[in-house]
Subunit: 357 residues, 2 copies
């Protein structure tokens, strides 16, 4: 029957960080697509749009007028998912003798949601900004992290960017969000569980070890510099998913040296340029940072190893996305090309942005 071929035979791969599996079906890349087509992002936006609620000097939907900001600009989301002020509600210890309290468990969640504009220019994105400008974004994130740490008792600051209409972004003005909540959200919580059990078993950091493994045989590495690696994780779910990993065990943004910060800005720029070049479109994704909680408990700071996840939906060109639907929602995430094939493709993309040539 021959030998097993990871580039052709179906298999599952294990994600030890979140204790989850993905089904990989590499032979499936060639099926035709007759379904929904996404709009390609053609560019051609003005650098100021008078109807944009994020441009400097414009009024937002709820009334406040943005300052004439010149670099980054942070404000509290006008439609925040969590509020600073609401009555407290502690989850009652589930009463085992009462079915209702056993099965209907809830807890109140206070917090704040921020919007962070990357630039006053309406028509740039991270890959079209220079390294100093991206460093400035990192500084803005760091300042917000410190502010939440010193001024609140909230647990976690989740910084994330939704880029592109297909990822639910309703305004192309370059921006991200940061939601700070009094509870630790599920995803970082799962990762702490994974990091903790690995450490208990092996005495080392899972992500430090993983960085070593990937450097030994760099088939999944897209690009790297002295301080960071961008790679398609062995257990990637989204077609061109990547992970930016600190090479050294660093807990959070505040722990970076100036050199590390410049290197991170450099790698974000290089990775997102390759993304845009892959299908010659403004590459949509959701991206986010995982790091130490702003108000950590016990071993959480020690366990934290700074990284960023990029989850881009496109599969085959600017208009054909991967849908994670029926089998993925009811059964298990499934992907149509291997992580190694995806890494090859991103690596093969040029390093000069197609719009700047």
């Amino acid at each position: 029957t021959g030998t097993f071929d990871f580039n052709n035979d179906s298999h599952r791969r294990y994600n030890p960080l979140t204790d989850s599996w993905v089904l990989v079906s590499p032979h499936r890349t060639q099926r035709p697509w007759q379904g929904q087509q996404e709009k390609a992002s053609t560019g051609g936006l003005p650098d100021y749009d008078e109807t944009c609620y994020l441009c400097p000097g414009n009024a937002r939907a709820t009334g406040p007028v943005n300052p004439k900001y010149e670099s980054t600009f942070v404000f509290v989301n006008d439609y925040a998912a969590v509020k600073v002020k609401q009555p407290p509600y502690e989850q009652s210890g589930a009463d085992d003798n009462d079915l209702k309290s056993r099965l209907l468990q809830a807890q109140g969640t206070r917090g704040t949601c921020f919007v962070i504009c990357f630039s006053p220019k309406h028509n740039v994105t991270l890959p079209l900004m220079n390294v100093a400008e991206i460093e400035n974004v990192l500084d803005t994130w760091t300042a917000l992290y410190v502010k939440m740490k010193t001024e609140t008792t909230f647990r976690y600051l989740q910084i994330f960017e939704n880029k592109g209409a297909v990822m639910g972004c309703s305004n192309p003005h370059p921006h991200c969000q940061a939601w700070c909540t009094e509870s630790l959200p599920s995803e970082p919580a799962k990762e702490f569980t994974g990091l903790r059990s690995y450490k208990a078993k092996h005495g080392t950091c899972l992500l430090c070890d993983y960085a070593v493994v990937e450097q030994q045989d760099p088939v999944r590495i897209v690009i790297q510099n002295e301080s960071f690696i961008a790679l398609v994780p062995f257990w990637a779910v989204w077609p061109f998913e990547t992970l930016i990993l600190a090479k050294s065990h660093t807990a959070s943004l505040v722990d970076f040296s100036p050199k590390q910060k410049t290197d991170l800005a450099d790698l974000i720029q290089k990775l997102t340029i390759r993304y845009d070049n892959l299908f010659q479109t403004s590459f949509p994704y959701s991206m986010g940072l995982h790091q130490a909680p702003v108000n950590p408990l016990e071993d959480e700071t020690q366990l934290s190893h700074f990284h960023m996840h990029f989850y881009p939906p496109l599969l085959r060109g600017a208009t054909v996305r991967k849908f994670l639907v029926g089998f993925e929602m009811l059964g298990e995430p499934q992907r149509d090309l291997t992580a190694e094939q995806a890494a090859d493709r991103i690596r093969a993309a040029e390093q000069v942005h197609y719009l700047l040539k």
Copy 2:
């Protein structure tokens, strides 16, 4: 500071079936939406389409010609995600002294993928079929379940339907899929873990108890009959997510009495009609069955409690969906209305299909 108001204050709810959390932000329903608009499904399709690869008598993309079927029609997916024949690949016991074998874990996955057409008519959907026709779909599912049980050693048969272009469905001809795999997929696996630990702790079935709790105070029940309940689970993630739950502890399709089967067909019809009426559009969703594995291990059959999940993306009308993106992917799923509010809305929808009035 007043008392906590579940209809206005942010909170998290716990899903004991999959050990997960959802952030509920009920005050957020009113934010304006300037982002992507979905296409409404206007109907008006012919009952036979000569370009459809699922209509009776037509040729499929890969060559085979469909029979002139008159009820349901099952065939092996021409672009299957798993294959019956490929070399075996057993996950090697992770060698703790070898970083690579510790961190890069994989296992081969054989199986078969089926497509199941619900009807020869190109322009119907479950809510437009009568109860006898839906019962016939249930019989087709049951026969496939029995076939996999008796003819294969595969573990699980995941039956699911992707409905609507927004859910990655590339052909409106009414059909679902069934993927049978030699490994138990993650979602049912998580549910078995939840059911098992609840049983160990309380001696009862989590879903039997949950059905009791919901019937005591039916704020989340949408509709029910003698054998089944359709409800918005307390821990729902998607805006109008529902769960169809067997009232009695029944492991799988093969265990249903004729009465139960008719009742299930009846409830599927009634629920999907209300869905279509909610926004007067062919309501998109991914739906699927969870039941006993076709080749169960140990306690799995005993633990199984048949149910169906419906995950519909629409939030506010036929063209505005909920995006589960940045915060949801990096942090935690978040919803904008409560389960109780959603149940009210679906309950308020009419029971006669808007196209049949």
